[in-house]
């Protein structure tokens, strides 16, 4: 997947784009209205002149008094800067023509354009020209052409337009720049958070971000990050304890082996004595080997390397098989075994069998003589319940939640009484969790209950 563009760049570009659109629209509106303004100003000027011409043509016209006519039209044009007039009568005779420009060169407008304003330019100048037929009194109708020079306007407009463009461009640039600064500034809390996070190292996992000091948009991120830290801290502590425990648990048997071997070698002994020592060593080795196997299983489960090979399991028959297996031993301990209910569950047969076996042997071991270990199977709409319950001295509450911790023993002094490495229940928990289930321990005067719930 391509890496998305940086937020700063993205926002800056967006800002610039928005600014460009706004400025362009604004500039277009201004330019357009100014142009319109000029056009209407020119038009009204042309109309005023036309009106005056209309009036003068309405009066009696003496054919011979050309000088006076000329004077009259000159007067009309006074005050209208750059205005020109050209009048012809019906016979095509020029009645009046302003000096400077021969308006007869202007192509006559189409019939339907009579009375409208057209733009025309000779080689030097631009004009707006109004052409109109006026009835007049004698020799009519007259064709009147009035022109005003608009170069001044056009020039102004050109200048204005250039300025406008310059303003638009610099406006966009300034907006983009300011947008960039604003975004940088707006991201400040984020950078601050990154700084905080990057300072957290493995031995400072207890650091937390304070969600109250970040903007609301980032609160959720801070909270999730804190939760992540929490989980990591817990896992980290568990892992460190686990390593320490492994070291400790291995040290004991290795110390035994070393001492025993050194003592054995310190003087000559009989073959039987050597044999005894080897047998005793053998037992220690077996313990170590089993511990390694159990730890390997747990390590793999932690890393999700024990995917359950799910099949339909008849828990009742599984438990019966286990009873079969443990029956003789339980009888020796004067403990009876009972099963209530039945249930099917989808799961890994080997793993669940191992979990149940660990639970059962644990329960038998902690049950006083002449008592009964009961396994209850039950199912409701969405889960299967397996309860292993045995009478016995109640487990203090503070130990209950730790029962499933690795190497955890209620009584540390009992650790070498041949009940395994203290990983049995940890393995049970790991297996149950691999199946998406939960295990809870409760204990009171009547005994201890381990309750597993597995999802269907």
């Amino acid at each position: 997947m391509r890496r998305p563009t940086s937020l700063t760049l993205r926002l800056t570009l967006l800002f610039s784009a928005v600014a460009t659109v706004v400025f362009l629209a604004f500039g277009w509106i201004i330019g357009h209205s100014i142009e319109n303004h000029f056009v209407s100003e020119d038009a009204s000027e042309l109309k005023i002149i036309l009106q005056a011409v209309d009036q003068s043509l309405a009066g009696p016209t003496s054919q011979n008094d050309l000088l006076r006519i000329k004077q009259r039209y000159d007067d009309i044009l006074v005050g209208h800067h750059g205005a020109l007039l050209h009048i012809t009568d019906a016979s095509g005779k020029t009645l009046y023509s302003s000096p400077g420009l021969d308006l007869s060169l202007v192509p006559p407008p189409e019939q339907h354009l009579q009375g409208s304003i057209q733009q025309w330019n000779d080689t030097k100048k631009n004009y707006r020209i109004l052409t109109q037929q006026i009835a007049g009194q004698s020799n009519g109708p007259y064709t009147v052409m009035i022109a005003v020079a608009i170069d001044f306007h056009l020039h102004f407009f050109k200048e204005f337009r250039r300025t406008l463009w310059l303003m638009v461009v610099s406006g966009v640039v300034v907006m983009g720049l300011m947008g960039w600064i604003a975004v940088r500034q707006g991201h400040q809390p984020l950078h601050h958070m990154v700084d905080q996070v990057s300072r957290i190292s493995a031995n400072q996992l207890n650091t937390r971000l304070s969600p109250d000091t970040v903007p609301t948009e980032l609160t959720e991120l801070a909270v999730s990050f804190n939760e992540l830290l929490q989980r990591m801290e817990e896992a980290f502590i568990r892992l460190s304890n686990f390593s320490a425990d492994i070291a400790h648990e291995l040290r004991t048997p290795v110390t035994n082996l070393m001492t025993q071997t050194q003592v054995a070698l310190s003087q000559a002994r009989s073959a039987t004595e050597y044999q005894e020592i080897l047998y005793s060593n053998m037992e220690e080795y077996e313990r170590i080997a089993q511990m390694i196997g159990d730890m390997l299983f747990l390590a793999k489960a932690d890393n999700g390397l024990n995917p359950p090979n799910a099949v339909d399991i008849d828990l009742e028959s599984e438990v019966r098989n286990l009873f079969d297996y443990y029956e003789a031993w339980a009888e020796e301990c004067h403990v009876s075994l009972a099963l209530e209910g039945n249930a099917h569950v989808n799961g890994d047969r080997l793993m669940l069998r191992r979990a149940l076996s660990n639970l059962l042997s644990n329960a038998i071991r902690h049950t006083p003589a002449d008592n009964c270990v009961t396994i209850k199977l039950n199912r409701d709409e969405n889960q299967v319940l397996i309860v292993v319950q045995n009478p016995g001295t109640p487990v203090p509450t503070e130990h209950l939640s730790k029962l499933f911790d690795r190497f955890y023993r209620i009584d540390p002094s009992r650790q070498r009484s041949g009940e395994g490495a203290g990983l049995g229940l940890a393995i049970v928990k790991s297996i149950v969790e691999t199946h998406g289930g939960k295990i809870v321990a409760t204990s009171n005067e009547t005994g201890t209950q381990l309750r597993i719930s597995l999802p269907l």
Partner: protein, 228 residues
Amino acid sequence: MKLLIVEDEVKTGEYLKQGLTEAGFLVDLTHNGLDGHHLAMTEYYDLLILDVMLPDVDGWRILKSLREARKEVPVLFLTARDSVDDRVKGLELGADDYLVKPFAFAELLARVRTLLRRGTTPATELNMSIADLELDLARHRVCRNGQRIHLTTKEFALLELLVRRQGEVLPRSLIASQVWDMNFDSDTNVIDVAIRRLRAKIDDNFGLKLIHTVRGMGYMIDTPDGDS
């Protein structure tokens, strides 16, 4: 019976060789994959014991070459890593068995014997016996010295296993797996109790004791003169 061990861990290799030699096998040992590969391809062996991880040519390669050359000699793998992938790979390549280190020597010995026996003795016999103990497999009956002895189903299965492999030391894990289908180590002495109970019925009232405890290794059934 001639075996080849390819194991780069010198000490492990030597002990395996000693143990298997003392158990009555002819054993060749090499410490590297190249020699192992050469020996496996040129010599005749009844069984190969291969370490998976070897510095030069690993166990998988040797097995692959063997199977490609259509040599169907049974192969038992030893590995320090127990991952599902490895197992699957081993089985796909045609390994016959798989042992994860650390393992009990008795376990290895039992598995070696199982592999060597495979395909040679069809287990169709209906009666088995050792000394004056007789088993009627079809009717699940046991007699000693003509006297009928009542056993539970599991006790019978346990005795049958012992008798079927008389003279062999069977480790507890193997017994648990074969009789109760429990394929994991238990930290209890369940097997010891079961054997004790079987002994009470089979041996206690008779002069000749047949079930023997081999300390640190397991149990076996045998007559005093050995081969029966």
